[in-house]
Structures are given as C-alpha cells and as structure tokens.
Symmetry: C2
Subunit: 434 residues, 2 copies
C-alpha cells in the first residue's frame, strides 16, 4: 500500500467531528438529554451490530433490501449495523419484560447507518434521539410524548410559532379507507402514498395519483372532502370510531395543558403503514426557508410481541441530528459554545517548567480547566495562542516571581495584569471565574 | 421468519446497556471527560466505518487478518468497523495539519470492534478513552500525558498506592537489542515477545524462550542483568543514548512535580513494536486480586505522515471501559449513581389529569426532573412505584386541594407530608432539593 493512496477524507456520507463541531454536537445532545430527563426518561444503549434477522422481521422492505449495512461475520453469522433503534429497544424490553417497572420511559441517542445517496439532511451515519414510553395503552401517553417533543424544541429557545405538531390517527384512516371509501387492500398503500405527497404537489397531480390507484370520481370527491374537514366536522361520520375518540381526548388534554396553539389535526399525516397503530404525529418547521417535517412518531402496539412474549403498548418518536441542527440553524438558536479552558499557565523558560506544572496541578485540583505551555517560546506568542483558543486568563511566572512566591495573572481581553502571592491564586481565580 | 426464532439476546461479545448499566457508564464517562478537560483536552469523533486501507496500512497484522470487522459496501468499497481510534485521529489531523493550532490536545471515547473470543475484559464491542497530545517532540509532552493518566484514576478516588505507572523507552531498548546484544532483525521480535511475558512466567521458561530465539548464554546473561538494573546504573553503558536521557529528564520532572511515588522505570515494558518510537508506559493495578496492566501508551512519531504530508510527533494512550470498570470495582470506587428523578406528580383520578400535568410542567420549567402518573391507580401503588424508582418526593392533588389551589407534598423516605399553596410549590421544592 503506497502512502499516497491513503485519503484523509472520511467515508462517503459520514462526518468527522473536529473539536469545533464536537462542541456543538455535545451542546445539542446535552440539551436533548436535559429535556427528556426533565420528564423522567432514562438513557439506554445497545450494540452497534445486531443479528440481521432483527431487521428482516420488522423494518420496511426498502431499508432491508436497499439500505441495510449487513454482512457475515467471521463465524458466518449474518449481522447488520443498526439502521434504526426501535428493534433494539423492542429486543431489550422483551428480554426483561417481566422485571421492568411500567411504564417504561427510555431514551437513547444512537448513531444509525443507512446506505443512501448523501444529500441535505440524509447521511449514511447519523445520530437520532429516540424517546419511547411503553406499557400504557391510553392516549395520555401520547399527550406526554408530544409534550416531550414540544419541549425539546422549546428547550433550545424555539418559539411557539416556530413549529407545529400535526396529528392524525391510524384507526381513523383505516375507517376512511375501508368503510368510507371501500378501498381494496391493494389500493390502500397507493392511496396512502398519494396522501403522503399531497402537500407537495398540485391538486390535479394528487387526483391523477388517485386515479392511478383505481379510485372512482366519487371516492376522490369523498377523500378530498375528508382531507379538508376539521376534526369536529368528522363526528357525524366517525363519532364511534376509536381513533376519532382518541383524537378528541388528545386535543382536550393539550388544550387544557396550554399546548393547543402548537397542535393541529391534519388527516394527511400517515407515516409508516405497517408500523403505527394509533395516533401519529409530525413536527413541522414553520420557517418560510425550511418548511418541512422535522421528525415524528406515534403509537405502535405490536412491536415487542415479535419476540414471542406479551405485547406491550408503546408510543415514541425519533429525531435526527442533521434535521435538528438545520432547524436550530435556520432559527438562529444553535447552542452557544462556551470556551472550554479557564486558564493557560505559561512557561517563562525551561528552568521554570516544574514550578509551572505544580501551579497548574493546584489549579486543576481546585476544579479549574487548565492548559499549560510545555516548551519555551516567546511570551507574546504564548499570549496569542491562548487568546486564539478563547482562554480568558494567562498565569505567568518569571524568575523574580518564582523567588518571591508570586505569580502574575494576565487578563487576555483587557491586557491588564496583576501580581499576587501564589497562595492567593486559587481563591483569586475561583472568584474571577465564578 | 417465525416469531420464535428471534432471540432477545445481544450479538455475542456485545452488551445491552439497560438504564442501571447506562447510568454507571454515563457516570464513568463524565468523570473521564472532566479529568481530561481539566487539562484542556478537547473532544473529537470520527465515523464508525473507515476505508479498509486505513487499517491495512498501519494496524498490527493480527488485527487486520484475524480481528477486523470488514466487508464490501453496496458500492463495492471495502470498509471496516474501527478496531482502534488512532488511525482515524491520524487521518483527521493529516486532513487539517496546516490549520490546527499546535500542540493538539484531543480526546475521544469511541466504541471499537474486534472479532475476539469473548472473555473477561475482552469483548467484541468496547469503548475506549483515547487521549493524545500532538505537535511536541520533547519529553515534557510525556510528562503531561502521564499526569493525565494518573489523574484519571485519582479522579475516581484511587489512592496513590492503588496503581503504578511503569515506564520504558524504545530507543533504550533498541540500543540493548542492536548494540549490547547484537540481535538480528529476526531475533528482535522474538526476544521482545519473551520480555513481554517475563513477569508472568518462571525464570527458566523465560530463558527457554530466549534460547528458542537463538540467544547465546552471554546474551541471556547480559539481558537478565539489564532487565533488573535500576535506571541510574545504566548510565555507564547508555549515558549517551537519547532514550536514557529522555528517561532521566522524565523522572526528574515527575519527581519535582510530586508524582515520583507512582512512577517506576521498568525495562520489561515494550508495547507494540512497530508503533511506538520513544517513551512507553503502562499503568498497573497493584491490588492483589487484579494485578495486571490496566492501560498504556507512549510516543509515536511516525503516524500522521502515512498520509503523505508532514510528520507530526505524538504521544497518547487508550483506556478500555471494561478494564477500567474492573479496576474501579476491585477498589470499591465505582461512581455512585444518584437518583435521576426529583419528583413524581401523582394522579388522584382521571378528572385531575390536566391540572396534574399543568403542575408537572411548572416544576419542569423551574428545572426539576419530574415524572408523572398518567393513568389512575391506587395511591398506595403510586407511592410504592415512586419509592422503587428512588424518587424522594411525591406531589399529590385531590379534589379538595384542587378546589383550594393547594397541593400535598409527601416525603417518601419519612412518610411525612404537608399541604401548601400551589403557588408556593416551586420555591418549596427548589429549597428542599438544593
């Protein structure tokens, strides 16, 4: 292997996180953790590799056949790099379903892998916050999960008018498809796909898709009427539908709690057909430059049972890091990154290395974050380097100070400096940085 | 795929992190981060997958041929799951070597993959703290890195007599092998492997390995004499050796800084032959139940240059999470995990759901971590559930309290409770939990 052939670029569709990007990622993840932990959710994690069968059994066909990173290990076992976290969650919950206290409130921020053509917001490796509440079958669980989703964005400083939660119910849609429109089981996925595209295409194009799905004029008229109906007008036709009832209860609760203004019924929200069983929701960015679904989730009651044990009802959502960062950037609310070093201890000359290191150790033991100069260089250069790294304070020590048990503190912003006893340095700096 | 065939177990050699394990992992990683950040090191990360060539070019043969998780992606590109972090570090540094301010102080806690037979301390997926200081060629860099390593363990509460840093120098060993013993280039790795095993085997078995490596009686005698010599006694033979000089300077510094008692010269420490170029060190557990190398590192000056650009001198170490947890457990200093929820808001009956949720929201907005009961159940059961989760405080609200704008706070440890105005709840709890 010749040296020249080694590229310094990361694998296609992945990212290197240099310290400046890592600080932003850490700040975003910290905020996410604080938000979900404020609801009592606990962190979990699973392995990066899972048995291939875990995805073959449940994930969508497109993921398994076209996007999964799978291979045989050296023991001829077929494995896959996780493309999503929910199968791992279901496996873990199933493995301890008798011991785990209900309800289960868990979150994770795994990195996930999909073989995709890299484009804006779609990478081969991305991180995704997963928040799930398992063990409750009633709509109050959705009320909590939607609150968590809202407060995640609010926690970064997003305003109430920056985004909107659009909500629908799979059982209401089943009633529309099966009873009102009397679609065949072949037609349902085609019509669902048309509805999914509806917001992005012209009415005529939407109608064309429905015709292609085999819909008659009356069916198209009925569907169009349904899709523009407010929830309250659906009572006559769907008053007994459990999905309709759930939605009414859901909106009563969010209105009472004060979250009505960010929540809206939208019967065009469908999400994964095979997966969700109750309320589904998507969070939309309302910024004119970024009008798009940011993330979403819903109720899935059939997941844990695929391991053969009891069914456990669940509700949850996943939020990708790239989409979230786009949202924060668009709204000017990316977290501010603060300087990560409090003090630089300079080095006057090589003979003062040990004393300078002793002082740096003292400061660290007092809880300060301290970088130190290890090899002699011009003092001006030392100040410059510290300033470039955003370090506010430089501690210097020449032969005179060393002899007199003193130290000089330089404030790099103002250029001011003062000399004090080494024994006063810790309280002086603690006070300054408090 | 039938339901019964899906296992709930994680892939062999990997771990599921349920919340109780994840809390410990998070607590350990937080302490590691705090320690390295107190030295001004900055976090970075790279992708889980790298081009196969990155490892073929540098990692040991055993890793690439027997332990690497590598496969072809759907675009026929050969990729590997990272078995170690240093090649990624080198790639990233090489890609920006002109822009990065020197010295570079970086750390990362990646998960790494090796196909091994799972056993104590060896898993297929493990996490490893990597700490590296690049851009300084002199031994003061090693003085800092060894300080960081020491303070990592001290940060968890390890005592000065719980562990020891054993230090050697590759250039000193080169002089022994090439000049003093005049070994051939074929003999060097064999003799090195024998020295590596020396502490774990009988003197006779050690001698046998040397004989098998083609060593004559005089060579064996000279090597044995060398291996038991204190550093100071090597001056006559090696006084001009740059490795010997580095070691003397290193020990002068650590003695002056006060770390002499934890550092010891040990000429049996070798580590990866192809990789390290200067000082090498290993941290040993001194506990009688766990006498073993915990982790180690050293100077590698030839790494970044494999991308064709300039060479950048470096020094660093890697520390595995399993080994570290064993050490902390053996010494009884695993981090204490504190309860992650401050308050449980109970639910008297369904009619009080919205009001209870409003109160929970208020508490969260005040910075508290609040779980809430979402479906009605017996009050005794609610107290029990909260107590089981280690939640210290329960907030309850019946119809009388609701009408009078009051709320009852129950202390689950003592069973005491008191009723107060809803408007006083936030300051009351903040004061209680402060």
């Amino acid at each position: 292997m010749s040296k020249q052939s080694l590229s310094t670029q990361p694998y296609k569709g992945t990212r290197d996180f240099f310290p400046e990007q890592m600080q932003v990622r850490d700040a975003i993840f910290s905020q996410l953790r604080a938000s979900v932990e404020s609801y009592g959710y606990q962190a979990y994690d699973g392995p990066m590799l899972e048995p291939f069968e875990l995805y073959a059994a449940k994930s969508g066909d497109e993921i398994v056949s076209e996007q999964l990173y799978s291979f045989e290990d050296r023991g001829k076992r077929k494995v896959a790099m996780r493309p999503e976290m929910t199968p791992t969650l279901a496996r873990m919950v199933a493995s301890r379903s008798n011991q785990l206290a209900r309800p289960i409130r868990w979150y994770s921020i795994p990195n996930l892998w999909r073989y995709e053509r890299p484009q804006r917001g779609r990478l081969r490796e991305h991180w995704q916050l997963n928040v799930d509440l398992l063990g409750l079958a009633s709509v109050e669980a959705e009320v909590e999960i939607v609150q968590v989703a809202i407060d995640l964005l609010r926690g970064f400083g997003a305003g109430i008018s920056d985004f909107e939660v659009q909500i629908n119910h799979r059982q209401l849609m089943d009633a529309v498809f099966e009873q009102k429109l009397a679609l065949s089981s072949e037609q349902v996925p085609l019509v669902a796909r048309a509805i999914d595209k509806r917001a992005k295409i012209e009415p005529a194009a939407f109608e064309k898709l429905l015709v292609e799905a085999g819909c008659k004029a009356q069916q198209i008229e009925d569907l169009n009427a349904f899709l523009v109906s407010p929830l309250m007008e659906l009572e006559a036709d769907f008053g007994d539908n459990p999905g309709f009832k759930d939605l009414c209860r859901f909106f009563d609760h969010v209105n009472a709690i004060g979250l009505g203004p960010v929540c809206r019924f939208n019967s065009s929200i469908l999400r994964g057909l095979d997966y969700y069983t109750g309320i589904v929701f998507e969070i939309y960015d309302k910024h004119p430059d970024n009008r798009r679904a940011l993330f979403g989730g819903g109720r899935y009651d059939n997941l844990v049972g695929m391991f053969g044990g009891e069914q456990i009802p669940g509700v949850g959502f996943g939020m990708g890091d790239v989409t979230l960062a786009d949202f924060l950037d668009t709204h000017g609310i990316l977290p501010q990154v603060s300087p990560s070093i409090d003090v630089m201890v300079g080095l006057f000359d090589a003979s003062l290395f040990d004393l300078s290191q002793q002082i740096a150790r003292q400061l660290r033991q007092a809880g300060l974050r301290v970088s130190s100069v290890l090899v002699p260089m011009k003092l001006g250069k030392q100040f410059q380097n510290a300033d470039k790294q955003g370090i506010p304070i430089m501690v210097m020590l020449g032969p005179d100070e060393a002899q007199q048990g003193q130290v000089t503190v330089k404030h790099l912003k103002s250029g001011e400096q003062e000399t004090l006893a080494q024994t006063s340095l810790v309280p002086y700096l603690q006070n300054l940085l408090a």
